[in-house]
Amino acid sequence: MTEKPKVGVYVCHCGINISSTVDVEAVAEFAGKLPDVKVAKTYSYMCSDPGQTLIKKDIEEHGLNRVVVASCSPRMHEPTFRKAISEAGVNPYFLEMANIREQCSWVHEEIEEGTAKAKKLVSASLAKVRLLEALETTEVDAEPAALIIGAGIAGIQAALDIADAGFKVYLVEKTPSVGGRMAQLDKTFPTLDCSACILTPKMVDAASHPNIELLTYSEVEEVTGFIGNFDVKVRKKARYVDFDKCTGCGDCAAECRVKDRFPSEFDQGMGKRSAIYLPFPQAVPAKYTIDAENCLYLSKGKCGKSPKCQDVCGAGAINFDQEDEMVEFKVGAIIVATGFDPFDASRKPEYGYDDYPNVITGMEMERLVSASGPTGGKIKVNNGEEEIEPKEVALIKCVGSRDASVGNEYCSRVCCMYVAKQAHLLRDKLPDANIRIYYMDVRAFGKGFEEFYDRVRRENVRYIRGNPSEIFKRGNKLVVKVEDTLNSRPLEDEVDLVVLGVGLEPRADMREIMELLRLSQSPDKFFLEAHPKLRPVDTATDGIFLAGCAQGPKDIPDTVAQAKGAAASAMIPLARGKVTINAQVAIVNEATCRGCGYCVNICPYTAIEMITINRFGNEVEVARVNEALCKGCGSCSAGCFSDSIQPKSFRDSQILPQIAALGVMR
């Protein structure tokens, strides 16, 4: 830094956002008198085209080599102003933003206070901008392939879009079949399309697409690297069935010695399956899988004289010696589409889900009403004494949603409509039944939702506003205890069937994915997006995107829209073939690094490794930063014993004068 700093200070009005509580003219006048400041100006919207032009012109006229913009948080507009000054020939990292909006004008009421603080913030930025270093960005190649974790509707849609664009896709699914939760649904609101009819063609497309490599019954074990260059390890779990030989005929399952003994995951435990099974008839791939935990031969080592499945399989596909297989590949982008878990109704014990067989969840209702479900679509329930066709049905909304007592304050966004849809389907099947829905609010916000809600009400479905406090048994009836809050009337409503409109929760196994990909959670425990409004499909890690309910509750159209958005975002590095590496990375002072490796452990991006160097004749271990992985977060610096690792542009030597300029340090 041989050149003497010549700084331009630009104070933004941000309409009245800043100027109503900060005297921007006074701030500019104050800044103009500070050392090294050549010019200080104000403008109504500094980020606008004329605002940027003002800065560029001054750089030319006054030969500025450093710029301070006093405006909003750097989160949004730092890239804007970096680009502007670099177009005028100044290194883009010779910029410092003083946040006089979020951290000043928005939090002060008095103009005197706001102005005084803005002046301090500008002085602080000025102290730092003079000490900044010129940084250069670099580029590396990107692998033109994508990994998609989870093959529900979100994963399938994203895979198809990326594959159609001509890129390779690895679609990894934990269970034996693609399809996810949508495959379990009967009809979809508000149009009442048959869920399977619209989904199964996409499932088949995903399996047969030449650009998609489908890895079902597989789990991602390890992800290292960075945007454009992720190295992925996937464990293909042993199915004990030769994938290529199995024809999906089903003879094995029919002959299994423990036939139809285990609760079917697909039917929410209401139907039964064998130890060798296809999750559901339309499963893709149509290949059988042996559940090693329940298979007699695999769990006990003995299955009669010889395993029956092996005896009957004409294709000779059963292979008990099969082992897990590791698959390794490289991708440029990753989409996380791991979906949700339905709320576990046992956590609301007052509703008696564990106690009464005729208290069921919405997911179970979907299977019960489905023509391919365990009862073939007949609504039969066990009231504790006998199988009956229910005459009195109650559906309860917001079970496990909007409920701080179970830790879920959010609205699950689908229950209002799926409960209405189930009421409609029940009305179809039980024309004489009395159907009522207990609700807190009806949120029918989507396209065609309000119309559907109206239609259901006209079908003699009663909406009663009240949140039931308890469900208990009286004789062979269930009693729903509730206050009708519109009439301020306590009720004890006797019914034959209760459907709990359970909400959506983050998946129980999402911790594993979080750790694997180093993602964050939002307060609702779903995955956190990079920006709630402007980057809803991105994560804080470049090259990793979110789609579907993994990010938060969504209905099918929103999920598909987000999947397509994530696919489009993921394709940016793939199509460009290159990725730009952040220049504000941490750097190690190898002369003082003690080699303790704390930074290696602390780094959330695994960007630091230990290397051996020769330091004045001594072989010593020191840390080294992989600049492609480093995000410049500074965690390493906080953990360093000897201040040997520091993020560029945020070195102690740069931020301590900045703090000192605020007048808070000696």
């Binding site: 303790c596 490796g597 602390i602 004045f616 001594n618 102690d652």
Partner: protein, 328 residues
Amino acid sequence: MKMDLEQLRKTAAEVVARDDVKYLVGWKQGTYGYRVAPGFVEDAAGAAELIFSPLCTANLATYLTLVEELPIPRGQEPDDRKVAVMVKGCDSRAVTQLIVEKGIKKDEVVVIGCPCPGVVDPNLLAEKYPETEDQVEMKWNGEGFLLLRGGEETKIARDEVLAEKCRLCRYPNPVYSDIMLGDPVEPWETDEDKGVEEVEGKDVEERAEYWAEQFDKCVRCYSCRNVCPLCYCQDCVLDRLNPTWVNRAVNFSENTAFNIARAFHLGGRCIECGECERVCPANIPLGKINRKLAREVRDKYGFEPGVDPDAEPFQASFKPDDPEEFIL
């Protein structure tokens, strides 16, 4: 005491005779009274002067990190020979913690473990049996100690002079060593949180007053830092001028800042060897602060420093289910 001095000196002589050993750090008779000095032994003659007695309170692991990394002149090979060190149970935890933090490497040291039935508190001893200029010998004797001076033998009950850290000791046998001397000793019952509970029991104002009184005594000699085997940063935060985190002024505010900084930098690292408290000229109960932090780390995170050389350092490790209810 099962270990005899002959065996110790013989082993030491064998170790220093090895080609891959530079020198050995052990204990030797001090210049007067109850004093014991660190001995840096390079040959058999030096080994013959070594002792191990209830007076060997010092934690010699401190000397491992005091060695400066000097530049090697061109054409010369670096001296890669190991340093041997004699450790008690508590000292061995310091070595282990140093290995965890890569302050030293396993292959840079030869750790000679000495199972320890507990050492004396020299101040307690001097109170009851005033120190004279004569050199003395002290031995473990059954459950107690035996003091030999001026041809006289005095039996001393264990509880009378046992050091506080030994009363609380849960690791009398070295947890990590390359060579172990003698037979392991039987660990004893301890009331490990003694002193911590007493302070925790006070209400906030009483506690503040208590520590104000304690910190007010501090003369800022930094002996506690200098003797600590785990305070080995070349550039210590307490010495730093830019920025000056802790001012040099000896007053309550700076003394408190200093003591809190010292304690927190040892959170999850202190192995409770008690050296800081032993050397403190102002008798500040530093052990209580250290033990409080150690207890927090143990109770909340299930971590105990210096017991597993292959552990991850506490401050640099993270588990998703780490408790965080105390984060505001």
